[in-house]
């Protein structure tokens, strides 16, 4: 009987999302930073948290990690309700917000050993775990140097190591690659992917839209403290305006005329020659078939893949207000490189 009950409890626990935050509100004085934010992330999901500066992403992560008190709402982490006042982070939950900070007069290794002690690890067990996570983040060579001499990128790696020491089943990462070189960023992305594949729920806050696009299957857009979208990457693309395609045909003038009669198609002459066609894929397919039926050959069709950032700016309708960083603009440029689909 006892075994049956335990099994039932385990099943219930497994079915709950790793992160379940409902109606989270936070106000600083008269400024409402979070307004009834809901966020649900399941085990094994890599969930992106997106929004312009000041949207409330970091505050939301602070609330979820118990660093900032919430004015309203409920938070369940790994099935455990997080008390609004005591705010203890449950075992199996880890992460960092902003660039992680450590005691500068201690070595990186010693910092981790003390954190392991706080987590209840015994000395020998903690030392072995520390060596393991230092290897995972590629910091073993610098582990015995004072943390005060670490670069921002090394601190970010050490922060990731500190999070990994908790064997996380729910991991919060706030801009985890912002200070890393390209190789380091690639390693961290691969690590995040591996953790998610192993069943860890990962919440990734980032300004780098291409990073989120590459890693995350689900995402939440936050704008002025409100969730304006939460769902799959495909879902947000459905909400976005039609994609723009560059098209070259055997008779651009006739193709332009045909487009004017077809619903869901907007075509204009491109400055460099050819046409710019805005359409959802199904309408575009029908248009291309219609061109063929009309004896007009399609010689080239290039999709200018819209980056997540473009979609975000479209959805928020706040292109001027969204303070895209230089880095994200660079990533936008990369993402906007045309991909030939025909």
């Amino acid at each position: 009987m006892t075994i049956t009950n335990t099994a039932a409890i385990q099943i219930v626990t497994l079915e709950r999302p790793a992160l379940e935050a409902v109606g989270i509100s936070k106000r600083y004085g008269s400024r409402e930073v979070l307004c009834g934010v809901d966020l649900i992330v399941r085990a094994g999901q890599l969930h992106g948290l997106l929004g312009p500066n000041g949207a409330g992403k970091t505050t939301l992560m602070r609330v979820l990690l118990g660093l900032v008190g919430r004015d309203a709402g409920d938070v369940h982490l790994l099935g455990q309700r997080v008390d609004a006042t005591d705010r203890r982070v449950p075992d199996g939950v880890a992460g960092f917000v902003d660039t992680p900070a450590f005691y500068p007069y201690l070595s990186g290794r010693r910092n981790l050993e003390l954190l392991a002690r706080l987590d209840g690890h015994r000395r020998a067990e903690g030392a072995a775990r520390v060596s393991d996570v230092l290897d995972q983040v590629g910091l073993s060579a610098h582990a015995d140097a004072a943390a005060g001499g670490y670069s921002a990128g090394m601190r970010q790696r050490l922060g990731l190591a500190a999070a990994l020491m908790r064997s996380p089943r729910l991991l919060f990462l706030d801009e985890p690659t912002s200070s890393l070189d390209p190789a380091g960023a690639r390693d961290v992305r691969a690590l995040a992917r591996r953790l998610a594949d192993a069943g860890t729920a990962v919440v990734l806050s980032s300004h780098d839209m291409s990073e989120v696009e590459e890693l995350c299957s689900t995402l939440t857009f936050i704008h002025h403290g409100h969730v304006i979208f939460s769902g799959t990457l495909e879902g947000v693309r459905m909400l976005a305006p039609p994609q723009v395609h560059a098209m070259h045909t055997s008779d651009d003038r006739a193709a332009l005329g045909l487009a004017s009669y077809r619903p869901g198609i907007t075509a204009v002459r491109a400055s460099g020659g050819g046409l710019e066609v805005s359409a959802h894929l199904d309408a575009l397919d029908e248009y291309v078939i219609a061109l063929g039926c009309a004896g007009i050959a399609v010689r080239a069709l290039e999709s200018r893949t819209r980056s997540l950032e473009s979609l975000f700016l479209d959805i928020t309708g706040d292109a001027d207000g969204a303070e895209a960083t230089t880095a994200s603009r660079l990533s936008l440029a990369e993402a906007d490189a045309p991909a030939v689909i025909s």
């Binding site: 936070k26 600083y28 505050t59 602070r62 990690l65 118990g66 660093l67 900032v68 008190g69 006042t85 005591d86 705010r87 203890r88 982070v89 075992d91 880890a94 992460g95 960092f96 917000v97 902003d98 992680p100 900070a101 450590f102 005691y103 500068p104 007069y105 201690l106 010693r110 003390l114 954190l115 002690r117 706080l118 987590d119 209840g120 922060g159 500190a162 908790r166």
Partner: protein, 271 residues
């Protein structure tokens, strides 16, 4: 809860052990009385304007009492605040609150562990200073009988008991002052304020004690306990001031820590 407090205390002690300031303070507590005793022995002048200063070359037992009198003015406030006034605000200085509070410990456990460390350091430093003073007096000058404040000659054995009790009598005040430093550290989030305010506060209280004022205020000053031991070295001995000092120390402890805990518990980290 106790396991959590133990873990935090252990971590805080390891951090303290790695810091130069802790080692310097403890080294000064050990070496200071010996340097003082040697200086008294080799020079012809004595600190005649301090209690037991005149006796310092006649009995080594006067050394711990002279050190105790001097410590009341400067050393206890500094010892109380150098750790207590920095233990919380250093997390602000290094930006490590988020690192600390995202482990498996509640804020209450973190607070309690840090307070235990701060109080423990004050107690250890005071005990080390007491033992070092007694050892310096006995080893450098000798264990001659001591003339007490009423002019009665005390044999070394009974004198040592009274000296040990005198040092023990300042512990509640040292604890109260440490709690004040903790409050300053938590409330201001500044190590400069956390260390400086208790020192300045202690000096101000000692200045106030020199002017006329309501007795109830005088007795409620945390620094009143640093002179309460005088009654132990009189004939007959009187203990009233020690009792008042103990009460004042406990009052400061409870009130300061309650406020500090409330502030830390409701604080938004980095928000």
């Amino acid at each position: 809860m106790l396991r959590g407090i133990g873990a935090v205390t252990s971590v805080e002690c390891s951090k303290l052990a790695a810091q130069m300031k802790t080692r310097i303070v403890l080294a000064a507590c050990v070496a200071g009385p010996f340097v003082f005793a040697v200086a008294m022995r080799v020079q012809s002048n004595v600190p005649a304007d301090t209690l037991f200063g005149r006796s310092i070359t006649e009995s080594g037992l006067a050394v711990p009492l002279v050190v105790l009198g001097f410590a009341a003015l400067w050393v206890f406030p500094v010892v109380a605040s150098v750790v207590g006034g920095d233990l919380f605000s250093s997390e602000d200085r290094y930006g490590t609150w988020a690192t600390l509070l995202t482990r498996s410990r509640t804020r209450a456990e973190v607070f309690a562990g840090k307070v235990v460390t701060a109080l423990g350091f004050s107690l250890v430093a005071t005990v080390v200073l007491a033992l070092s003073s007694i050892a310096a007096g006995l080893l450098v000058i000798g264990h001659q009988p001591l003339v007490n404040l009423s002019g009665v000659l005390l044999a070394p054995g009974p004198a040592l008991v009274r000296i040990a009790t005198a040092w023990a009598s300042v512990l509640p005040s040292a604890i109260g002052l440490t709690a004040l430093a903790v409050l300053a550290s938590v409330a201001t989030r500044s190590s400069a304020a956390g260390i400086g305010l208790p020192v300045v506060g202690a000096l101000t209280m000692q200045l106030y004690a020199m002017v006329d004022g309501p007795e109830v205020i005088r007795r409620s000053l945390i620094t009143s306990g640093f002179g309460a031991w005088h009654g132990l070295l009189a004939e007959p001995s009187y203990y009233g001031p020690i009792g008042h000092a103990a009460l004042a120390g406990m009052l400061y402890l409870v009130v300061c820590l309650a406020i500090a805990h409330h502030v830390l518990r409701h604080r938004d980290i980095g928000g």
